[in-house]
């Protein structure tokens, strides 16, 4: 046997071994093109709050989705600044713009600049599994270290512990399998789903002078919760049409309390679930349709509510089903009222302005931000729509005059200098005048907080 032949044989042997062991690392390296690290900051009135999250590439136009928890609800898009996208193992930033949040999935969408797009591969490029993963199946995913470590990618794997509906189909793994917001694959590299924000885990904390204090720990770097591909893929195209995420369907009940199996049994609603309605907003689609507090909703468009575990998931299910609709859609709810069943047609409305969309103005000299009064403020303050006026305090500068006078965020300002404020515009104009008047030494606010009213006097210097 010639040496040449031996070498060939040797190479052949190596190749066979490699073809068995190499794919995972190859799959891993290939799929790194679909994950990115994203940095931005939230610019509020006086401070910047840097945020670092991870995202998954969803199309060839450089669109990237971030987990819903990446941005606190209520933060106006205008305060989101300086989105930077980084590829794993790379500290070269690329600029991105914020596209908005999708109401149904909660995902935030951003779009990265042209130059990086050719280096990215949309997650849909990879084959996805056709069946749900089974218990004990081993899955793997990608984790990213932080900026100091050049967003170095690392490999994670774990076995499926259970698959459940929350209300979307979700696999819970025995340990962390990927960074939150990053994809998860099976051994063949097929897409299984997207890692979600991790769930809290209960621990007991023992210390020298305290026995066993229960604490909840949330892993912010890695997650073992995976939203399955058939819940993810159909929604990847839900790029918000506007930065506000509209259109959004509105129902108008703020209390949706699940019924538990014991209650269902007593009400003779076996193998059924439902939600009790309360906190109905006057003038909302729900009340216009004749729905009342204490009605139990049992089915939507003829589909009975499934029994989900834990019970409270059914409220999320109902909320999600509503969000699949558009403003103006008619839905049919089957309800139980005083023991009798009936169908109620509801024409969904357009979601009233959300906190993040509300007009606001920061008065630097006065030291606070006034924002317009919203429907949700009416709910929080128990105010009938007809009585909703004035402005809400969104922010109070620490150590400011109004802070010293006792003004707090969420306070409801009803009068300024003894003058009743009917509209946001009126209040802003009044406050601008006060702010511009350098000879002013003080101004007076009438504010409500938790149903109690007080007159606050702020000294200006």
């Amino acid at each position: 046997m010639s040496i040449f032949r031996r070498i060939v044989l040797f190479i052949a042997a190596v190749a066979t071994v490699a073809s068995h062991a190499a794919p995972l690392v190859d799959l891993f390296n290939e799929r790194l093109k679909s994950v990115v690290a994203v940095e931005f900051f939230v610019q509020d009135e006086i401070e910047r709050h840097p945020v670092s999250v991870q995202g998954t590439v969803v199309d060839a136009n450089g669109t990237i989705i971030l987990p819903g928890a990446a941005i606190m609800p209520g933060v106006p898009p205008g305060q989101l600044k300086d989105f930077k996208v980084y590829r794993p193992n790379n500290t070269e930033p690329s600029n991105a713009i914020y596209l908005g949040q999708d109401a149904l999935t909660g995902w935030h969408f951003i779009r990265v600049e042209e130059k990086l797009r050719s280096q990215l591969v949309p997650i849909g490029h990879y084959e996805a599994v056709t069946a749900d993963p089974v218990i004990s199946e081993e899955l793997w995913g990608i984790g990213l270290r932080n900026k100091e470590e050049d967003f170095m990618p690392y490999f994670l794997s774990a076995r499926v512990a259970l698959v459940t509906k929350l209300p979307q189909k979700t696999a819970i793994l025995a340990s962390e399998v990927a960074g939150p917001g990053l994809p998860v694959f099976d051994s063949g590299g097929r897409l299984v789903g997207l890692a979600q924000t991790a769930f809290g885990q209960n621990f007991l904390l023992f210390s020298r002078n305290q026995n066993a204090t229960p604490i909840l720990l949330v892993n912010v770097e890695e997650s073992s919760v995976v939203l399955l591909a058939n819940e993810v893929l159909p929604n990847l195209g839900r790029i918000p049409q506007s930065v506000t995420g509209r259109p959004m369907a509105w129902f108008g009940a703020y209390g949706l309390q699940p019924i538990d199996p014991e209650v269902a049994k007593l009400l003779k609603l076996e193998n059924q679930s439902g939600v009790v309605l309360s906190d109905l907003m006057e003038g909302s689609p729900a009340t216009s349709a004749g729905l009342k507090e204490r009605d139990i909703v049992l089915a939507l468009d003829g589909q009975p509510f499934p029994r989900l575990k834990p019970d409270r998931v059914v409220a999320g299910y109902f909320g999600q089903e509503l969000l699949r609709h558009h403003p103006g859609d008619t839905i049919v709810l089957t309800i139980s009222r005083d023991g009798a069943r009936q169908d109620v047609k509801v024409v969904l409305g357009d979601e009233p302005k959300l906190v993040r969309e509300a007009d606001r103005h920061y008065f630097e000299r006065l030291g606070f931000t006034a924002r317009e009064f919203l429907t949700t403020d009416g709910i929080a303050n128990r105010i009938k729509p007809a009585e909703q006026q004035g402005v809400i305090v969104q922010f109070v500068k620490p150590g400011s005059a109004v802070g010293a006078a006792g003004l707090r965020p969420d306070d409801w300002v009803r009068e300024i200098d003894g003058e009743e404020m009917k509209t946001y515009e009126q209040a802003v104009m009044k406050l601008k005048q006060i702010e511009a008047d350098k000879s002013r030494v003080e101004f007076v606010l009438l504010v409500s907080r938790g149903g109690e009213t007080s007159v606050l006097r702020a000294k200006l210097n």
């Binding site: 703020y254 209390g255 309390q257 019924i259 538990d260 014991e262 209650v263 049994k265 007593l266 009400l267 009790v276 309605l277 309360s278 906190d279 507090e293 204490r294 139990i296 128990r382 009803r414 009068e415 200098d417 003894g418 003080e442 007076v444 009438l446 149903g451 109690e452 009213t453 007080s454 007159v455 006097r457």
Partner: protein
């Protein structure tokens, strides 16, 4: 030591109270120690409302002679944190016991810096005398949960002293060096040094007399929450030292119905000029309103911006936000009736329902998912308008335990629960 002070010591008693609580989903008994001072030859003892309350099931008094005698509650008033109990005189006579009674001094004549003594039972150390001075003789001190969850301090100011006051001093007298009672020690800042507070004798004398007569103090309620004007006079274009600023108006109160609004300034009350410039001046004004007969018409001269208004309101009976309490032990839940005041403060539609004070783990109410703070509004189809309604349902349940559908509100969101045997 003066003879007066010596004699006073024989009038100071230790009070041991066993009381019922409904905190944890069950009826429980707890014990507490306080102090008191005998104020009459027929065995009336003045103490704090947070020492002796209607929750007391057993009151035992230790006289200066160290003999123990039982006592009964005569009446209490959490607003001023005062209570009157009476020694069991039959027992005193039978056992041939002796005691002395103390005299009130003039609390209005006190001046800051005057030497005073606190006498009582701090941490169970009976007959402890501490010395200090009057630190301030006019301290406003309102606390909406101050007396075991009940409101206190809206109708009087307090004496502040640096005489050491510790837990257990409560209800004991604050005296001048001639042994005259000028205050009833009631509270201190825990963790602070020598910041103690006493109810002035002037108030104590008046309240105790009425408690002896009626067992309770009835007050009028208007629903006006005052705020100190301080130097807002200019803003409201007022002469100095005139008017009472209306900081808030309780919804659905007589003041609200009369049309009074926050930001109004009340210049006169039944023709009398008001001066609420400083926080110290507010409790006496509140007290003058509270002292009006219930159901009387109050004329309010009001300034609103440039307008002058004459409003009139009819007072209601003042009620605490704390309602009656009870425990349903087989369900493992203790409750407190929603009072009108509670409903008003929490913006509930009406006073229907009972608030869950506590649940016992493993019992039906806890198993159903009820938690502290939930408001039970309905059982089956019966609205719980009164505590008695719930008691009746419970009695039926005790005789024939059957699953009960419970409607409760949490943060005003309605949920259904099943309590089952």
């Amino acid at each position: 030591m003066s003879r007066g002070l010596n004699r006073l010591l024989d009038a100071v008693v230790r009070i041991d109270v066993r009381e019922i609580t409904f905190e944890d989903g069950a009826q429980r008994f707890t014990g507490g120690i306080g102090s008191g001072v005998i104020i009459s030859a027929d065995g009336l003892i003045l103490t704090n409302a947070h020492v002796a309350s209607p929750r007391a099931v057993e009151i035992s008094v230790t006289l200066a002679s160290l003999e123990q005698v039982s006592a009964k509650l005569v009446g209490w008033d959490h607003w001023t944190d005062l209570a009157v109990i009476r020694l069991d005189l039959d027992e005193v006579r039978r056992r041939k016991l002796n005691f002395t009674s103390a005299d009130f001094g003039d609390s209005a004549a006190l001046f800051p810096g005057e030497t005073v003594y606190a006498v009582g039972t701090p941490y169970g150390l009976a007959r402890t005398v501490t010395r200090g001075i009057i630190s301030n003789n006019n301290r406003p001190f309102e606390d909406p949960r101050g007396v075991n969850g009940f409101e206190t301090g809206s109708f009087n100011t307090w004496l502040q002293t640096d005489a050491a006051i510790n837990p257990g001093n409560s209800g004991g007298p604050l005296v001048t060096d001639d042994g005259k009672v000028i205050g009833i020690n009631s509270r201190a800042y825990i963790g602070a040094e020598n910041l103690g507070f006493a109810i002035p004798a002037e108030i104590a004398r008046r309240v105790s007399a009425e408690l002896v007569l009626h067992g309770k103090i009835t007050r009028s309620y208007l629903g006006l929450v005052p705020g100190a004007l301080r130097d807002l006079e200019k803003f409201y274009s007022l002469a100095a030292n005139t008017g009472l600023l209306v900081n808030g108006v309780d919804p659905d109160s007589p003041a609200a119905r009369a049309g009074l609004r926050p930001g109004d300034v009340v210049l006169t009350l039944n023709g009398q000029k008001l001066d609420g410039r400083f926080p110290e001046q507010l409790p006496p004004i509140q007290n003058s309103i509270a002292s009006l007969p219930v159901g009387s018409t109050v004329r309010l001269g009001v300034k609103r911006g440039g307008q002058s208004l004459e409003l009139s309101a009819v007072t209601e009976k003042l009620e605490s936000q704390v309602g009656d309490e009870w425990a349903f032990e087989k369900w493992g839940v203790s409750v407190r009736k929603v009072s009108r005041t509670f409903a008003r403060e929490n913006r509930l539609a009406d006073a229907t329902g009972v608030i869950v004070l506590g649940v016992q783990p493993g019992y039906p109410a806890a198993a159903a998912g009820l938690v502290r703070g939930d408001i039970i509004t309905k059982i089956g189809t019966a609205p719980i308008a009164e505590l008695d309604t719930l008691k009746k349902i419970y009695t039926t349940y005790e005789e024939k335990p059957e699953a009960q559908l419970v409607e409760a509100q949490r943060n005003r969101r309605i949920s259904l629960y099943v309590i089952k045997p």
